[in-house]
């Protein structure tokens, strides 16, 4: 047997050869990118984040707010018209009895997914870059759920009976249909909304405490009182932080299955049926991937302008944009995979109705919407393979706009093309939205913007504590960077945990 080199496999099993092997460990230089650039200190972070709600309201904010509020009135007008006249004012007619309402509902619910993904799943995956964007994304989630909720709430027509969606005991023994995925939506979305609000609010508490203390110091007593009420006596103590971090982790664990379950159940609205184009087993993960895809599209759509307006380049760095672009690329590819599988299995399944549904999508009366969907969701994200594109923020913003448009059209294609040309050619029709549909949907962008602008104006947009923890000053002993090669005795007992 040849002499065994001590550093080679199966030979470092004794302490001496292990030391020799570890002595050879000399990593090449490939430093991780800084999450807060510009060699800033903790004080700068506090000033920057708190400075936004503390400063005088900028003119652009008022202009945007007024425009958004005006836009929101369109929803109000549409809903007033609907409630006063009945759901006949929507463009629904045989055979398309699900139109823009469900499309808009799924669109907005999907947008909301990025917030929870960033806060919960990326937290569990220890992706530190999430901290610069998680607060705004969580806020976006809540506002998107608010917008989404409007459509199922009002589609019942007599909205004052909407509470019948909940299984409340009543004299008439009228119960919801528990076997319907639409009923499951009621529970899934309401639970998701509740947990998202809790998660967002809990994350805000330390920063509200900071805002309270700063307001008090500045002599603004009403502000200090308002922030103080919501800060719930936060004192930045070690004990508070320890409880906070445990609660955060628990909520992250709770939110993770929720974020997956909500869009899975939304996908069941379609896939649990027998309708060609809807009944396909890949729908649950495909809808979840699509939701994350659209959610990140919206996060970038919102954060890039804020970054420019408030000069947040040191906090939302090119690295953050890169990461988000890559997630959009990955989830866009998953969505593309699902489109491909659906199309292939529609042919491979040899069911003529299923085959027709997909051929009809690509070549039928709604082919224009199909190609908008494919162009925006499958083709445009692939521009993110190129570094030059990811580094051009204007281009990133435009592509994210395409993603938002594409994901709305995806839901339109799924819903409308399958219904408009169903099993019976004599009943085929062409669905068009009415002005009420258009008003109601258009206005939700206003409502969403109003809520988001209020958030930006009055609350700290980023979690200061978490940002400070990922700065190099927050890692004085080098634990997070692995600058020391410290072998652990493993099997159980050792290490410097």
């Amino acid at each position: 047997m040849p002499e065994i080199a001590p550093e080679l496999p199966f030979t470092a099993s004794d302490a001496e050869s292990r030391e020799k092997l570890l002595a050879k460990v000399k990593p090449v230089e490939a430093p991780r990118r800084e999450l807060v650039t510009g060699d800033k200190d903790f004080h700068w972070v506090t000033e920057k984040v708190c400075g936004i709600p503390e400063s005088k309201t900028p003119r652009w904010w008022w202009i945007m707010f007024c425009v958004a509020a005006c836009m929101a009135t369109f929803t109000l007008a549409g809903l007033t018209w609907l409630v006063s006249s009945g759901v006949g004012v929507w463009g629904l007619a045989n055979p398309v009895n699900w139109g823009w309402a469900i499309v808009n509902f799924v669109f907005w619910i999907g947008i909301g997914h990025a917030g929870t993904l960033i806060s919960a799943i990326l937290c569990l995956l220890r992706q530190k870059w999430r901290v610069s964007i998680n607060r705004a994304a969580e806020a976006m989630t809540i506002f998107a759920v608010v917008c989404a909720g409007i459509f199922p709430l009002f589609h019942v027509g007599r909205v004052w009976f909407a509470w019948w969606l909940f299984p409340l005991p009543n004299a008439n023994w009228i119960w919801p249909q528990f076997r319907s995925p639409l009923e499951w939506d009621v529970f899934a979305v309401s639970t998701y909304g509740t947990v998202s609000v809790l998660f967002w609010y809990m994350g805000l508490i330390p920063d509200l405490g900071t805002m309270r203390d700063r307001a008090l110091k500045a002599g603004k007593l009403i502000k200090a009182w308002a922030y103080g009420v919501f800060a719930m006596g936060w004192r930045q103590s070690n004990r508070h932080w320890r409880n906070y971090e445990m609660a955060y982790l628990l909520l992250a664990g709770l939110s993770t299955p929720l974020v997956l379950s909500v869009h899975t159940i939304v996908s069941f609205d379609f896939a649990a049926s027998q309708l060609p184009g809807w009944h396909t087993t890949i729908f649950p993960p495909y809808f979840v991937a699509g939701a994350i895809f659209s959610g990140f599209g919206m996060v970038l759509t919102l954060m890039l302008p804020l970054r420019a307006v408030y000069g947040l380049h040191n906090l939302i760095t090119q690295y953050h944009i890169d990461c988000m672009c890559k997630i959009i690329l990955a989830t866009g590819s998953m969505v593309g995979y699902a489109y491909m599988m659906e199309f292939f299995i529609a042919w491979y399944g040899a069911n003529p109705y299923e085959g027709f549904a997909f051929i009809n999508r690509a070549l039928g009366q709604y082919a224009w919407s199909y190609y908008i969907m494919v162009g925006c969701n499958v083709i445009s994200p692939h521009l993110f393979w190129f570094k030059a594109v990811r580094e051009n923020t204007a281009l990133v913003w435009i592509i994210c706009g395409f993603v938002n448009v594409g994901m709305w059209f995806e839901r339109f294609v799924i819903t409308v093309t399958s219904l408009a040309n169903d099993f019976l050619p004599s009943s085929w029709g062409y669905y068009s939205p009415t002005i009420v549909d258009i008003f109601t949907f258009f206005g939700t962008f206003g409502l969403f913007s109003v809520l988001f602008l209020l958030f930006v104006r009055f609350l700290p947009m980023m979690p200061m504590g978490e940002i400070k923890a990922v700065m190099k000053q927050g890692d004085a002993h080098g634990h997070g960077t692995g600058t020391q090669a410290v072998p652990h005795d493993v099997h159980g007992k050792g290490g410097h945990h």
């Binding site: 496999p9 460990v25 230089e29 020391q484």
Partner: protein, 437 residues
């Protein structure tokens, strides 16, 4: 340039590898014996017109294919996420990736032999022989089956070979590229190798699902070619991640107790691998349940028959596969899920190794559930009976798993003997060695 060539070009320091060869040779011998038994079953089965032992071979292949595909995904994910903790584990997976060419070579017998032995009735994939008869109330020749004719553009020999060829290029090409850069960096340290691995991984994460789906559709889904599910490729991905993670835990356990990772592989590595095992246990259940539920709920006969075969006899009583299906619910999902929820299960070596062995066993059961049930002509209301769960052919199932596994492990150990047990110049190696929970 292949990874072998990359290793060959490194300085004499590493070329003097030596390393202990005996474990590799031991596994080679085990592999050859296992393959010989499985081959015996395959040949005798074909001579008697039976494809059951071919299914055994396919079971063995699928299990190890799942392990390697899962490792390929994990290696690529590790690079794309720029993960620090997983660097030393990634290296072990890179060794396993060297087995891909051997694995593809081991697919040849089950595809090729039926063309030369027997009367072609023992084809594992009925559609490869158009004269095969499909059992049923009205037995039909495959070549006359209207459903086959509609799918014939995909289900034919030429397409099969193109599909397998493309998959071979994807898996072997990606593995070779990743191994080459990773191993070369040990001897010619340069950050460009790490950057190259990240680029390859980005492209690989785009290509690997395509290759996996093609393989799974040809090798597994087309066993019952009337049946279809858009989710099937995702199910295999979920399974492959579980198999790969469990294999890695056991591999690292051996390397850290009696191999080169002793004192390097630490508790936090077990913990992180355990967390991933838990995550993919949930993901596997999510995917498997979604597929079952949507087919059950829509109740379309073209889809439900696949599950009905695995539940009912012709007289409506439960068959043995019903219990196998239930075992998947309780033992492939529920038990590992509850077990892995507990923190200590992920850090106590005995616990995590136990549950990973458990997962591997039930992963084989899952593949068994997907591959083995086939229809045999019978005089009853359905016109067929389903292959029983237990049969004398199980010896060939075991032989194929051990035989193909022996070759895969031999290839991995062979790779390990040619370079360092940890990537000593990887930019994240220190983060991995000093990883904490």
């Amino acid at each position: 340039m292949s990874s072998e060539a990359a290793v060959a070009s490194v300085p004499a320091e590493a070329a003097a590898s030596g390393g202990r060869k005996s474990p590799a040779i031991l596994f080679l011998i085990i592999g050859i014996i296992g393959l010989a038994v499985a081959l015996f079953g395959l040949v005798t089965g074909l001579e008697n017109g039976s494809g059951r032992a071919g299914l055994s071979w396919l079971l063995g292949f699928s299990f190890w294919f799942a392990a390697l595909v899962g490792m390929l995904f994990l290696v690529q994910l590790s690079y794309v996420f720029d993960a620090g903790w997983s660097t030393i584990i990634r290296r072990q997976m890179e060794h396993f990736l060297g087995a891909f060419p051997w694995l593809f070579l081991l697919l040849v017998p089950v595809i090729a032999l039926p063309f030369f032995i027997g009367d072609n009735t023992g084809m594992v994939w009925k559609w490869l022989n158009l004269d095969n008869i499909l059992p049923g109330i009205h037995p039909t020749r495959v070549g006359d089956d209207p459903l086959y004719l509609l799918k014939a553009a995909f289900l034919n020999q030429t397409s099969l070979f193109i599909g397998l060829g493309v998959s071979f290029v994807i898996f072997c090409g990606l593995s070779a590229a990743l191994r080459k850069h990773s191993f070369t960096n040990d001897f010619q340290p340069d950050a460009k190798h790490y950057a190259a691995c990240r680029r390859w991984s980005g492209a690989g994460l785009f290509l690997t699902p395509i290759g996996t789906t093609v393989m799974v559709m040809y090798l597994l889904m087309s066993l019952s070619y009337h049946w279809f599910s858009t989710m099937y490729g995702v199910w295999f991905f979920a399974l492959s991640m579980r198999v790969a993670l469990a294999t890695m835990v056991i591999t690292c356990f051996f390397l850290s107790t009696r191999g080169g990772l002793k004192g390097i592989f630490n508790q936090s590595h077990y913990y992180f691998l355990g967390c991933l095992c838990l995550a993919f246990t949930i993901f596997w259940a999510y995917i498997s349940f979604s597929q079952f539920f949507l087919i059950y709920n829509a109740n379309i006969p073209e889809e439900t028959y696949w599950y009905n075969m695995r539940q009912l006899n012709a007289d409506g009583t439960f068959n043995g596969w019903w219990w196998v299906g239930l075992s998947l619910v309780f033992f492939m999902f529920l038990f590992p899920f509850l077990f892995l929820l507990r923190y200590k299960s992920k850090v106590q070596v005995r616990s995590i190794v136990f549950i990973c062995c458990w997962i591997l066993f039930f992963a084989i059961v899952d593949l068994y559930f997907n591959i083995i049930p086939t229809q045999k002509a019978a005089d009853n209301i359905l016109g067929y009976n389903v292959t029983p769960v237990f049969s004398k052919y199980m010896i060939f199932d075991v032989a194929a798993i051990i035989g193909i596994g022996g070759i895969v492990i031999w290839a991995a150990l062979r790779s390990m003997s040619k370079t360092y047990i940890i990537p000593i110049h990887d930019p994240r190696i220190r983060e991995s060695i000093s990883s904490v929970q």
